[in-house]
């Protein structure tokens, strides 16, 4: 067992002396995390088709509020309109719909709205203080479609204000109808609050594991073999499992360091709120690393030599990363990509990890999240243990 520890130390020394590898394994995940959050920070799950469902509540039911709802209905009635209106009487009921993701926003005209406007207009001529009339918007925090909807509704109100005061020939800034926006915390069906930072962190963790579990394993099995380094090792009493043991220990430790760095950086820089330290998330994290090592073993076994293995890693790495839903939800993709997604173990691992962390509900069942990656792991183990060549060029 002494040699397992020796290999662990040797691999670690080598990594620490390799600035590029250190950057790639330890710094790059932080960088990509930051970049993705900057780009997609406001992303939501139902991002990709813009179609605003708005709950409309007219608690005023007076002349001017009717004109305003009329305007909205007209917009909604337009061909290829972006707006769908759903009338509600009860604010609480509408809020439940917003929370469940049925609506992007609530448009509420509070009681007294028409009267406030009339007072406004008449008060202006009497030289009294002008108080703005208010509209209420409700939207989901951090969700782009919801925020865009509110912005668009705001524009509608702006134009409406302009038209309304056109006849008076004078519009004071204070006469604008103000929109009171209220953020609503989103609860999906499972009671999960969506937040891109929390969503992306598990994705970055698996991305880092792809380079550690898969790439490092393949490189450290095939390159030393092809260069005759392993051959020299095996001319001593050393056994293959001792070399592999040291390599796996090294990979697990590096993965743990990556996990801690990403977790700490996510919390420190982006106020991530994920709880990794519960049994299920930890299980999925470890399971992911194991499965990716299994895929690595499969690649190392199937490839003839180190350079073929390197190419195969590249061929597999990018689809696994981009078509595994690590960075954004993959829905509505064309058939071929759907197939890649369906057989990609990363799809299931990330679904399982996100679900277990409570950051996003899994679109696949827990059984599938365990089974599909498990098949890859078994394939890698069975084929690798039976067929991996410890000697070059055979």
């Amino acid at each position: 067992m002494q040699s397992v520890g020796s290999f662990f130390r040797t691999f670690s020394f080598r990594l620490l002396r390799d600035k590029f590898a250190c950057f790639w394994l330890l710094i790059f995940p932080m960088l990509i995390l930051g970049i993705l959050i900057l780009i997609f920070g406001n992303l939501t799950g139902d991002q990709f088709s813009f179609n605003s469902q708005v709950a409309l509540i007219d608690d005023d039911q007076e002349e001017i509020s009717s004109i305003l709802t009329g305007v909205l209905e007209e917009i909604a009635g337009a061909e290829n309109g972006w707006l769908q209106l759903n009338s509600y009487q009860d604010l609480e009921e509408a809020r439940a719909g917003l929370g469940a993701g049925t609506y992007q926003a609530i448009f509420r005209i509070p009681p007294g709205f028409s009267r406030e406007i009339m007072d406004n207009v008449s008060g202006q001529f009497r030289g009294q203080e002008v108080l703005p009339a208010g509209i209420e918007f409700y939207f989901r925090e951090g969700e782009q479609s919801s925020e865009v909807t509110v912005t668009a509704l705001n524009q509608v109100v702006e134009v409406f204000t302009g038209e309304l005061y056109l006849e008076t020939g004078l519009m004071l800034p204070a006469q604008r109808i103000t929109a009171h926006s209220q953020m609503v915390e989103v609860r999906t069906e499972e009671g999960v609050s969506f937040n891109y930072v929390n969503y992306i962190i598990p994705g970055i963790i698996l991305m880092a594991f792809l380079s550690t579990g898969m790439e490092e394993l393949v490189t450290n099995l095939t390159v030393p073999r092809d260069r005759g380094i392993l051959r020299r090792f095996f001319a001593t009493p050393l056994q293959a499992f001792q070399y592999t043991g040291g390599l796996i220990l090294y990979i697990v430790v590096i993965a743990a360091v990556q996990l801690l760095i990403i977790y700490w950086f996510g919390r420190w820089a982006f106020s991530a709120q994920i709880d990794l330290w519960s049994p299920l998330p930890l299980f999925f994290t470890l399971y992911s690393l194991l499965v990716l090592m299994g895929v690595g073993l499969l690649i190392a076994t199937l490839a003839r030599n180190a350079s073929a293995a390197g190419r195969l890693v590249n061929i597999v790495f990018y689809p696994m990363m981009f078509l595994g839903g690590l960075y954004f939800p993959l829905e509505g993709m064309p058939g071929f990509i759907r197939l890649v997604t369906a057989i990609n173990p990363v799809t299931y691992l990330i679904n399982g990890l996100r679900e277990s962390l409570g950051v996003f509900p899994s679109s696949t069942s827990l059984e599938l999240n365990l089974l599909v990656p498990g098949i890859w792991l078994m394939a890698g183990l069975i084929l690798g243990l039976k067929k991996f060549k410890w000697e070059a060029g055979q």
Binding site: T10, F13, R14, G228, R232, F234, A235, P237, Q239
Partner: protein, 320 residues
């Protein structure tokens, strides 16, 4: 089997057998890499395996190093009988492979420490580093070493477990003369320490200088064996006349030469004629060349050596 040379060891006792191989076979499909060889290696001797490329010596050595398993045959290593080299046997062996590549970005000392962990016991790393004169390179990264230094590292690694048997597979190939001489000195030292050394080499001079006993292999079989002196004596020729081939000489002329000197060979552009009576042979050669008007450039008389034995037995040069 050759008799045990009881008198060849200073201790005066009977030399123990370090390795005994009986009826060893290793075939790759139709290729008979090792085709039923038997050999005996005595403790404390430098045993050299010679053979042209493809003769099967590398496969034989790899089987003895435990890197390959034989198809059949019996091995007795340091008194332990086995079908293949066991881990316990490897624990008492040191190996310098033909090509020694090391993990990069680790230092000389770290490399020694890594290898030390593979064996049940190891000598102090510091002592070994001193023995192979790498003290100044202890903290240097392995990839920064020169060819000679890398080879000394490889030998140092082979000595780490204080082995009884050391394999040196072409230990000086590609080294400059000074580095080669350093390695030879090291091997002489090991010989003095009564280590059993199994050597393969392409350098005739090296084999002659270092070997106690030589086996020559070709086509997977042992075709000759003996001490360097015995092998040279086996040629039954006392002298060699050597000269560079005149470009004007045709095949017909060479046939004619062969009729005068049945024991002759041509290697690259060099003609070697093996004779017993030098004076008589030389006068005949001179007469013939004068008649034909051929020049005898780089004419030389010398004693036959292992290269000649090798050529005689295999028809090929050691380096072919």
């Amino acid at each position: 089997m050759r008799p045990i040379r009881a008198d060849s060891w200073e201790g005066g006792g009977v030399l123990e057998k370090a390795i005994v191989v009986t009826d060893l076979y290793k075939h790759y499909g139709a290729v008979k890499a090792v085709d039923g060889i038997s050999l005996e290696i005595l403790q404390g001797e430098v045993f050299t395996l010679l053979g042209p490329n493809g003769a099967g010596k590398t496969t034989t050595v790899e089987i003895l190093e435990g890197l390959k398993e034989p198809d059949s045959g019996e091995l007795v290593v340091l008194g332990q009988k086995s079908k293949k080299i066991s881990r316990a046997m490897k624990d008492r062996m040191g190996v310098v492979l033909q090509q020694n590549t090391f993990m990069e970005r680790i230092t000389v000392k770290e490399t020694f420490n890594l290898f030390a962990s593979f064996f049940s016991q190891s000598l102090p790393v510091k002592d070994i580093i001193a023995k192979v004169a790498l003290e100044e390179k202890t903290t240097a990264l392995v990839e920064t070493l020169s060819g000679g230094q890398k080879q000394r590292l490889a030998i140092g690694l082979a000595l780490l477990n204080n082995p009884s048997i050391i394999f040196l597979d072409e230990p000086t190939t590609g080294l400059d003369p000074q580095a080669r001489r350093n390695i030879w000195e090291l091997i002489e030292e090991l010989k003095e320490e009564q280590k059993t050394i199994i050597l393969t080499t392409h350098y005739m001079e090296e084999a002659e200088k270092l070997s106690d006993y030589i086996y020559i292999m070709d086509h997977g079989q042992i075709i000759a064996r003996g001490t360097p002196e015995e092998l040279v004596a086996g040629l039954d020729q006392d002298n060699v006349i050597e000269f560079t081939l005149d470009p004007a000489m045709g095949v017909k002329d060479l046939d004619e030469l062969g009729q005068i000197f049945p024991e002759y060979n041509l290697q690259d552009n060099q003609v070697n004629i093996y004779v017993r009576d030098m004076t008589d042979a030389f006068s005949r050669l001179l007469t013939w060349s004068r008649e034909k008007d051929f020049s005898l450039e780089n004419l030389m008389f010398r004693r036959p050596n292992l290269e000649d034995v090798f050529l005689d037995l295999t028809g090929k040069g050691l380096r072919d």
